[in-house]
Symmetry: C2
Subunit: 153 residues, 2 copies
Amino acid sequence: MDVHSDLEPIRFLVGSWQGTGRGEYPTIEPFAYHEEIAFVPGPGKPFLAYTQRTRGEDQAPMHSEAGFVRMSTGGPELVIAQPTGLVEVHDGELTDTAVEFRSTAMGATATAKAVRAVVRRIVVAGDTLSYTLDMAYTGVPLTRHLTATLQRV
Amino acid sequence: MDVHSDLEPIRFLVGSWQGTGRGEYPTIEPFAYHEEIAFVPGPGKPFLAYTQRTRGEDQAPMHSEAGFVRMSTGGPELVIAQPTGLVEVHDGELTDTAVEFRSTAMGATATAKAVRAVVRRIVVAGDTLSYTLDMAYTGVPLTRHLTATLQRV
């Protein structure tokens, strides 16, 4: 694969992943989901295209999102768009084969439910990718929302 | 295709499109590009997944972006993420088979070149999709940046 040399530090993300997760939040009932994630190198460019989708236990489509992990001189950066009308802008910090993205800006369309902040921690160990997502919402500080474990496929 | 009934007003966008465009801006040399665009309905959901990529006249990869067109009670909304580290949030206005998206919020990662505002006008006539993109940048007001014409494939 034509992977840009700047992507070497985040090469551990590259690939397709499948697994399961669970969601929780003070304002909702807990739920479980199936998930597919892909990180695909831009052809000869220093970024990974990121796509994700989840299905419920009954296989009905749930969430999806798309974005890019971009390698800058300061480390990885992440931008995401969601069909819920949200966008996220993150700065990332790398530690071996783990990366923590902390939102530096959030955006929402007129009718979207605005989210105040998001922290996404991704850890890859061999062929296992696990992540957590913490979210701050109106009246709720940063609180665990998602926990998932996926296998490389 | 399982297209959500709320998508009826923007069904004219759905499909895969290929064509060519030209870029210009006060700060750069004009350029030409090949382009592929897709608008794919979310399965049973009131949004379209949007992907786009361009290549130069020499076929070398240039730009790409990904996002979602979401139908709300107020009309279409658009969110986009770009590997340049930018995100865009738009409100849209529909007129027959045309839509004008005007940015309501822009976001950028720490090392991205921030864009102040974007207006994207898309017109579909039969199997032809044409668009313009105006952009406001540091020191430059809203100015034409992109003009393209694509055919349904």
